[in-house]
């Protein structure tokens, strides 16, 4: 845990943070609104105080209530992974700015997040499905997507008890497994 990093981040980005900075093990976590992503990540990447030059991961997350985009950054100025969570994307129409202007390689990771969650990254010039076939319609990693897509629409309903326990067949629509984000 890098306490100084926390202090630095609070001082620099205090007004854009949408939640408290959390630290656990070797990770520091900040939350921002999607609209602030380009500015915050740009600052983290460019400013010599931070030098987060490496994007270790870009992941979409469906918490069951909102969508999130999670960035993991690495810098030689700190021993921590920095986790930036762009929080509060709506599940109906998730949209967030693309960061391909910072890391070109984010293009495919954003494509993957789009493919799996339907998150639209504005500014990604090649946002199409990457793993699933072009004519595919649903987003498999969303929490209201049960395993075996076709089976989910069939009378058999959900598939294994482990999945069904989260969303029984006759339960009201929209009850999905969720986590307190």
């Amino acid at each position: 845990m890098d306490r100084s990093l926390r202090a630095r981040l609070e001082a620099r980005f205090g007004e854009v943070l949408s939640g408290p900075i959390r630290q656990r093990h070797d990770e520091t976590e900040i939350r921002i609104a999607p609209k602030d992503v380009p500015d915050v990540l740009g600052a983290l990447h460019d400013e010599p105080e931070y030098r987060f030059v490496m994007l270790a991961d870009l992941a979409g997350v469906d918490t069951g209530e909102v969508m999130q985009v999670v960035y993991h950054l690495w810098s030689d100025t700190t021993g921590d992974w920095l986790r930036v969570i762009a929080d509060g994307l709506s599940r109906e129409e998730p949209r967030t700015p693309s960061i391909t202007f910072l890391w070109k390689a984010a293009e495919w990771m954003e494509r993957e997040a789009y493919d799996m969650f339907g998150i639209v990254f504005e500014g990604n010039r090649d946002l199409r499905r990457i793993f699933m076939p072009p004519e595919y319609t649903s987003f498999p990693l969303r929490k209201d997507f049960y395993l075996a897509d076709d089976a989910a629409r069939s009378p058999g309903g959900g598939v294994r008890p482990s999945e069904r326990s989260h969303a029984p067949r006759n339960s009201p629509a929209g009850t999905v497994r969720r986590v307190k984000a």
């Binding site: 270790a56 986790r83 390689a105 793993f131 986590v179």
Partner: protein, 391 residues
């Protein structure tokens, strides 16, 4: 006769373009044609499809099409409990399976606040470095195979087979080891493994050196790789490269040093770096790394402590809700797992970060302007494993 049919080499667009980039790619200029390489082409290292826009033999642009091996491992992992989800990771990068398991167990250990016994850490590093050597020798052999040299790959496979037999004695399986457990490893070192390892270590360095001597000095091989697919360090970072490919571009970034984990801070090894950033540098860097891995194995064997190899854990794991990210330095770069727990016995989100996926997308940066044959050389030097790319 042919005039009645479709124009001889007219491109067939499977779908209307979805993005500007796709539309631009599938619009052919004067004298250009599309060549569909894959999904089963001899040198795609798996089931990859690349649509190439060619001007004669020159590649103008290309569009990799993924998903032929997509198994939905992330979804499967979210529907399995914490132990089970590790088993799904092995088939991702099937030539270096241990490095797929490793970040997952590390992430889960973070979620559970488990302390791993030191002997288990040593065994992880030992087996991991063996797996790295196996993967690197294979990568070097394939680089020759894709250039048409058929012999080095077989020498590589002989070396790899010895390592794989060794790991089979340790883990029980030859390829999909499923050896790392949350809080340790599945079983201690055994006599069979140790005798095989000692036997192999005594001749490994000279043997690998001799095998690769077939290529290192070979003028044809050197000329075909030097100055090919050059990636400068700035672009490499923007392309999120990691691992040997990044180090061949002059960035000394090795997670074992840059973000130390396990017992690597206690071990003495160098991070080889090269500045050329071309295919030859990537090849030679792998050879250097093999030597460093041999050093690490030597030290592990020397310093191996006694003790348990598994932490005491309850049978049913229910970590507190939280998030954890763990990454290790694999033979291809940064393998990361981002795990979220919602308090049940299954991971809530199970994100896999695979380096091959990242390296593959720099095709569009590296290859345009080169010839078709160079595509194979560059592809082999990036060493992607499609099982990991497609998840």
């Amino acid at each position: 006769m042919l005039d009645d049919e479709v124009g001889l080499f007219e491109p067939i667009q499977p779908n209307p373009p979805r993005t500007e980039r796709e539309a631009e790619f599938y619009t052919l200029g004067d004298g250009e044609m599309l060549l569909n390489v894959g999904p089963h082409h001899p040198s795609t290292h798996g089931v990859m499809r690349v649509v190439m826009k060619l001007d004669g033999e020159k590649v103008v642009d290309l569009d990799p099409v993924l998903g032929y091996l997509h198994r939905g491992v992330e979804k499967l992992g979210e529907n399995a409990d914490f132990h089970q989800s590790i088993a799904y990771l092995d088939p991702l990068e099937y030539v270096s399976s241990l490095f797929c398991e490793w970040p997952a167990v590390m992430a889960y250990e973070k979620l559970l606040d488990v302390e791993v016994p030191r002997r288990a850490e040593y065994i992880r590093v030992l087996s991991g470095e063996l797996n790295r050597i196996a993967s690197h020798t294979l990568a070097m052999g394939f680089q020759a195979l894709d250039l048409g040299g058929i012999t080095p790959i077989l020498y590589s496979f002989i070396e790899r087979d010895e390592i794989v037999e060794m790991l089979a004695a340790l883990t029980g399986q030859r390829m999909l080891f499923n050896y790392f457990r949350i809080g340790g490893v599945n079983g201690d070192l055994n006599h069979d493994f140790m005798s095989r390892l000692g036997d192999w270590m005594s001749r490994a360095a000279t043997q690998i050196e001799a095998n690769m001597g077939l290529l290192n000095e070979n003028e044809i091989f050197v000329r075909r790789n030097r100055g090919l697919g050059v990636m400068d360090s700035e672009t490499a970072l923007r392309m999120c490269w990691t691992g040997p490919n990044l180090r061949a571009s002059g960035v000394s970034f090795d997670l074992r040093r840059a973000h130390p984990y396990s017992i690597y801070p206690e071990l003495d090894f160098d991070v080889p770096t090269r500045n050329e950033g071309d295919c030859l540098a990537r090849y030679l860097l792998r050879l250097d790394e093999v030597k460093q891995s041999l050093r690490i194995i030597d030290q592990c064997l020397e310093q191996m402590p006694d003790g348990p190899v598994m932490a005491k854990l309850p049978r049913l794991l229910r970590p507190r809700p939280g998030r954890a990210f763990a990454a290790v330095e694999g033979p291809r770069g940064l393998y990361g797992i981002y795990a979220m727990s919602d308090g049940t016995d299954q991971p809530f989100r199970f994100r896999i970060h695979d380096p091959s996926f990242i390296h593959l997308q720099s095709f569009t940066t590296l290859i345009p302007g080169h010839l078709i044959a160079d595509w194979m050389a560059i592809n082999a030097s990036l060493d992607p494993i499609m099982g990991g790319v497609d998840k």
